[in-house]
């Protein structure tokens, strides 16, 4: 019940935002066909937003276990750098993708081990890789932006299949698969149990530490794939800027989507809508011509509004206030 209501508010927010854009310029929702593929702002939002969506998907599971992964932005940079290194030395696309996923999994494994086996606070444990990771990526790239000239690689981020953009299709597919895997098997329940009460779940016979580590590994894999999309999008590995502040957007998407930072219940659909909201907001800034210097303000206001709407306490307080007033009349 609680989860559904927060999803509802999120959808309402998204619709209001789109409506606000439509009032200013009806071209916002216009989709046309250009060179045999779909073309328009909604397509841009899905394509550009696919990276945040993918990062947020992994982040959802980590946050559901009561943790957080600050290192995803740096893992994006490392994975992009690895792609550039391999592709430019003539490695095949499949091997390159496997390597990017492997790098992500390794990073996630390190994070998960630090958190679950050594009991280090998630923020501190993942901060290590957040800081060190960017250095590693820069080391791989030698402090340069490395250009990747491989059509098949760029296709992953900017290509179209039957007129539809590839990146959102891939990310959408991953969302579907993850949802099925978590909800049709007991795995989702394990994650929620560990996040809700680790000690209790351990006493109930759950390998809590292993569940946690796997959540971080999954998050790392998502970050690795996001690194692929990020590099493919601009046909270059930019170790310094790729994935910069991406962890914050991912966390925002998860939290706005109704997954509490304290762990426990999570919502995959909520995360998807949260990431969609962030990207729609970015598009709104461009479309309504908000000066860049003040652009962070609407974003902050939106976060505040959504958090307030989701606050159970505030809602009951308003409701009781309302009732009292009605009673007085």
């Amino acid at each position: 019940m609680k989860r559904h209501s927060s999803l509802l508010w999120l959808a309402v927010g998204l619709i209001l935002l789109v409506a606000y854009n439509l009032v200013g310029n009806p071209a916002f929702l216009k989709i046309s066909v250009q060179d045999g593929h779909l073309y328009g702002v909604p397509i841009d939002i899905l394509t550009q937003g696919s990276r945040t969506m993918l990062l947020a998907l992994g982040m959802t599971l980590v946050i559901a276990t009561g943790g957080v992964d600050l290192s995803v932005g740096s893992v994006v940079a490392i994975a992009g750098a690895v792609c550039a290194l391999l592709l430019n030395s003539g490695t095949s696309l499949v091997v390159t993708l496997a390597a990017a996923v492997g790098v992500g999994a390794l990073a996630g494994g390190v994070n998960g081990t630090l958190v679950a086996r050594l009991g280090i606070q998630p923020i501190v444990a993942t901060l290590i890789l957040m800081v060190a990771g960017r250095g590693i990526a820069q080391l791989i790239c030698g402090g340069q932006v490395i250009i990747i000239d491989r059509k098949s690689f760029e296709f992953l981020a900017n290509g179209f299949v039957a007129g539809l953009p590839v990146a959102p299709l891939v990310v959408g597919g991953l969302y579907g698969l993850t949802h099925l895997f978590l909800r049709r098997t007991a795995v989702g329940l394990f994650v929620e149990a560990v996040g809700d009460n680790e000690t209790a779940s351990r006493f109930a016979g759950l390998a809590a530490a292993r569940v946690k580590i796997l959540a971080y590994v999954f998050c790392g894999v998502c970050a690795g794939l996001t690194g692929v999309l990020t590099a493919a999008n601009i046909r270059a590995a930019d170790a310094n800027r790729a994935g910069e502040n991406a962890e914050l957007d991912a966390i925002f998407a998860v939290v706005v989507g109704g997954t509490a930072l304290t762990g426990g219940r999570f919502s995959i659909l909520g995360t998807f809508l949260g990431a969609l909201l962030i990207q729609t907001l970015a598009a709104t800034m461009y479309f309504r011509g908000v000066p860049p210097a003040v652009a962070p303000v609407p974003k902050a206001l939106l976060i505040l509004a959504v958090s307030l709407l989701q606050s159970e306490k505030l809602r009951t307080w308003i409701a009781s206030h309302w009732r009292r007033k009605e009673g007085a009349v």
Partner: protein, 321 residues
């Protein structure tokens, strides 16, 4: 308390430092290698890497012992480096300050040790201008103005411009924006119809340009980007919209990284104004002058050039970064 305790210890050091300082010019004259400390910001971009490289290679060429310190984007690292330069008794200190404020105490220490300080690339805010000898940097304003002048000539003073700004609040973004606005004022036919920040990033430039293309459609004639990365991102967005960058839409940007000069030569970009990172020669010239007791101007700028279709292909092989 501390002071009284330290005084007996400090005075021999002070004497030693003073002796060294008096001895320095003499040693220099006697052909002793110069020691120069350089506190760099970090290695955050290709521009920065080229900047460090220029300092190192120029020092090697002149037989100067360059103590290079990478600040890794943190002021405290730079301050620590400057302190260690002072204790090592270098002849001059070069700083590329990461932030504008908070430099006074450490600069005062350098001044007390009579080591001249040269600021490069970015300036600082200080109540006491005598704390540093001079500033050598890029003239961001001049760069923006060169871009505007070139554009006016190229388009005959007509066109609708979209601007891709750098990171809001950063000096290059502020100056390049202001200069360009001032520069096109004389041409009523040139108008900025939209302006957003792409954060100096390739992906940012691409994303903003995608939105602009949908918002303004065919109305966009010109893109002015505050750096090459954003212009290259925008060019990609233009291609994906089925248009030809450099032909259907004119692109002007700043920095002149090698990839952008190559793009200009290939006709994908139309013009890029150089922001020269090769500070080495000028910095060490200034060091020599300062140590010889000559007066130098408080502010000096590196000379920047402009590359368009007429000269890009020619200079491309010689571009170092």
């Amino acid at each position: 308390m501390h002071r009284t305790l330290l005084r007996p210890l400090a005075s021999p050091f002070l004497l030693l430092a003073a002796a060294l300082c008096i001895a320095c010019p003499a040693l220099h004259a006697a052909g002793k290698t110069l020691k120069v400390g350089f506190a760099q910001t970090g290695a955050e971009s290709a521009w920065r890497t080229a900047n460090s490289e220029s300092m190192k290679s120029e020092a090697a060429k002149r037989g100067i012992d360059l103590k290079f310190s990478d600040g890794q984007g943190k002021q405290e690292n730079q301050i620590r480096a400057v302190r260690s330069f002072i204790t090592q008794g270098v002849d001059a200190i070069v700083i590329a300050p990461i932030v504008e404020t908070g430099w006074d105490p450490v600069l005062r220490e350098a001044k007390r040790a009579k080591i001249p300080v040269i600021l490069t690339d970015r300036t600082i805010q200080t109540s006491d201008e005598s704390l540093y000898a001079c500033f050598i940097g890029s003239d961001f304003y001049e760069e923006g103005k060169m871009a505007a002048d070139w554009l006016a000539k190229f388009t005959g003073g007509k066109g609708s411009i979209v601007e891709l700004q750098g990171t809001p609040g950063s000096a290059p973004a502020n100056e390049r924006r202001k200069a360009f606005g001032d520069g096109i004022k004389k041409y009523p036919g040139l108008k900025i119809i939209d302006s957003q920040s792409g954060n100096f990033e390739r992906s940012g430039g691409k994303q903003v340009m995608e939105a602009f293309l949908k918002k303004h459609g065919k109305a966009i004639g010109i893109v002015y980007a505050h750096n090459d990365d954003m212009a290259l991102g925008a060019a990609q967005a233009i291609e994906e919209a089925g248009l030809k960058p450099g032909k259907d839409i004119v692109l002007v940007s700043i920095d002149a990284i090698k990839e952008a000069v190559a793009a200009v030569a290939a006709g994908r970009l139309n013009c890029t104004v150089e922001c020269n990172p090769l500070f080495g020669p000028k910095v060490f010239d200034t060091v020599s002058k300062l140590l010889a007791g000559e007066k130098v101007p408080k502010k000096m700028y590196n000379k920047d050039e402009l590359f368009d279709a007429t000269n890009a292909a020619k200079v491309l092989p010689s571009r170092q970064y």
